[in-house]
């Protein structure tokens, strides 16, 4: 009974989130375009499916994964875990002590990206538009590796306290250089993949990790250092997707 109420509540919440989008779309459709939507019934059923799907998805995440993931982020960044039971944090911390945090960052970055619904959507579209050249799984894996590397570097940055813009600006330089060498057809898709990766699944877990670290590492400020992981997670997929296309092209050329 309680569960049923929660499902209903979640569907209502999601509907409220979707309302502005739906009213813009249908408003323009009826007032500006003034043409009947082809297969209107099917489209509406599709919208209802998206609504139900997203509600169940979010509810499931809240029920199963987020509490455990957040708890884990807390435990892994806890000094008692890193420095033994006494939890004595040395004056000068060694960034190597946080190896489990880096490993967790990498693994959680990769795995949450694989399950990210908006990335699945873009991958399906890219596969269709490219006539099969861009594989759905190939793209998703490439993006996931980018996010994993990005978040790992992001946690390293929080531990060491290096300024974020050094990393981001270096990232930009690499992206610009890669742009000149990557196959032309992949470039816009690669730029897009930076923005699509960080959504429903990744953001809550990654944010918990960042805040946990910024709270426990001595000398870090939660409010300043806790941010920035998402930025890493949206920059590195651009590089990994272009690299994926470059490697695919190279392998293709060699086999001819």
């Amino acid at each position: 009974m309680d569960l049923l109420m929660r499902i209903l509540q979640m569907i209502i919440d999601t509907s409220i989130d979707v309302l502005p989008i739906a009213s813009i779309i249908f408003g323009f459709q009826f007032l500006v375009i003034r043409r009947p939507i082809p297969n209107l019934k099917r489209v509406i059923i599709g919208f209802v499916y998206v609504l139900i799907g997203l509600s169940l998805f979010l509810l499931g995440l809240e029920q199963a994964l987020f509490p455990l993931g957040r708890l884990m982020a807390d435990q892994l960044t806890n000094p008692a875990f890193i420095y033994g039971d006494a939890g004595l944090v040395p004056e000068v911390i060694n960034w190597k002590d946080y190896y489990w945090v880096y490993l967790f960052a990498f693994a959680i970055g990769f795995s949450t990206t694989i399950a990210e619904p908006s990335l699945i959507a873009v991958a399906i579209k890219a596969h269709e538009v490219s006539g099969g050249t861009v594989g759905v799984w190939g793209l998703r894996r490439a993006v996931a590796i980018g996010v994993a590397v990005g978040i790992t570097l992001g946690t390293y940055r929080i531990v060491t306290g290096l300024p974020i813009h050094y990393f981001i600006i270096s990232g930009y330089i690499i992206v610009v250089i890669q742009t000149f060498f990557a196959p032309k057809m992949i470039v816009p898709l690669a730029y897009d993949s930076g923005g699509v990766t960080t959504s429903t699944v990744t953001v809550p877990l990654v944010a918990a990790l960042g805040l946990g670290l910024a709270e426990t590492v001595p000398g870090r400020n939660v409010l300043i250092d806790g941010f920035g992981l998402i930025a890493f997670a949206s920059l590195f997929p651009i590089m990994s997707v272009m690299a994926y296309a470059q490697i695919s092209e190279y392998m293709g050329n060699r086999s001819h």
């Binding site: 989130d17 309302l19 502005p20 989008i21 813009i24 779309i25 323009f28 459709q29 500006v32 099917r42 599709g46 919208f47 499916y49 998206v50 609504l51 139900i52 799907g53 997203l54 169940l56 998805f57 509810l59 499931g60 995440l61 199963a64 994964l65 455990l68 884990m72 435990q75 892994l76 693994a107 990769f110 795995s111 949450t112 694989i114 908006s118 699945i120 959507a121 873009v122 399906i124 579209k125 890219a126 490219s130 974020i164 813009h165 930009y172 742009t179 057809m185 816009p188 898709l189 730029y191 897009d192 930076g194 923005g195 699509v196 953001v203 409010l223 300043i224 941010f227 998402i230 930025a231």
Partner: protein, 244 residues
């Protein structure tokens, strides 16, 4: 009927496969690294079932509803030939989907705390709320503008790399000028704006436009809208931090 059930079962298996990596990672860290029992086992099983069902429904709905409507609207606008209406639509889509985005509301609230602690605004609930709302509207405006620029690019066939590089240069310049406290939030705001429903719609709009305009390639011209939408918020949030 049997066929449909089989298809449903197959796509649920696909969703399970999408989810498996997270389950393995959390299971491994819980059991091997932290050596803790897994609390609320039944809750987790039920939750996982929900996620799988939800993902399956979402993907069905995507192909039935979101993709077709995005593309049919792009076609209709292209046939109608009214650039002004198309750009107004683009702005509304970007602005409207962002301003109510829960992730953005959360980030804006946290940003107002940073601003209050950093002494950029006075530390009262009213000042913080007005700062947070201002930030939200700034980001939503910048996303609307981004979709407009992106749609214009598709119409004119401009090449994306120079525009993105121009954006990067602006981010770098703004980074040098903006207050230090706002930089992390500004960089993050680029990533949080694009939600699960906006992304498929905007992608379908771009690809639909590029396919219905002669001389445009859906692959090289159709993608890229999201890229603009994740770049402009960074610039505008830093500008906001400088002005306030």
């Amino acid at each position: 009927m049997q066929h449909a059930l089989f298809a449903l079962f197959k796509s649920m298996l696909g969703s399970l496969r999408d989810l498996l990596p997270i389950i393995l990672v959390i299971g491994f860290f819980q059991a091997v690294v932290l050596q803790q029992p897994i609390p609320g086992f039944i809750d987790i099983i039920i939750g996982t079932l929900f996620i799988i069902l939800g993902l399956t429904f979402f993907i069905y709905g995507l192909e039935m509803g979101l993709f077709p409507i995005g593309e049919s609207m792009a076609n209709a606008f292209a046939r109608k030939g009214s650039v002004v209406w198309l750009l107004i639509f683009a702005f509304c889509l970007g602005f409207g989907t962002t301003v109510a985005e829960p992730a953005l509301i959360a980030v804006a609230d946290e940003a107002s705390e940073v601003a209050a602690l950093g002494g950029m605004i006075i530390n009262t609930p009213e000042a913080m709320e007005s700062y947070s709302n201002g930030l939200r509207f700034t980001v939503a405006f910048s996303v609307g503008l981004a979709i407009v620029i992106g749609v214009l690019r598709i119409l004119k066939g401009w090449s994306i790399q120079y525009m993105i590089m121009g954006g990067y240069i602006m981010v770098v310049i703004m980074t040098a000028l903006a207050p230090k406290e706002i930089i992390g939030i500004a960089y993050d705001s680029g990533g949080v704006t694009t939600s699960t429903i906006t992304v498929p719609l905007v992608t379908a709009l771009g690809v639909g436009l590029a396919s219905s305009i002669k001389g445009r390639n859906p692959m090289t011209d159709g993608f890229g809208l999201i890229a603009f939408a994740s770049l402009t918020p960074m610039i505008f949030v830093m500008a906001y931090g400088m002005i306030i």
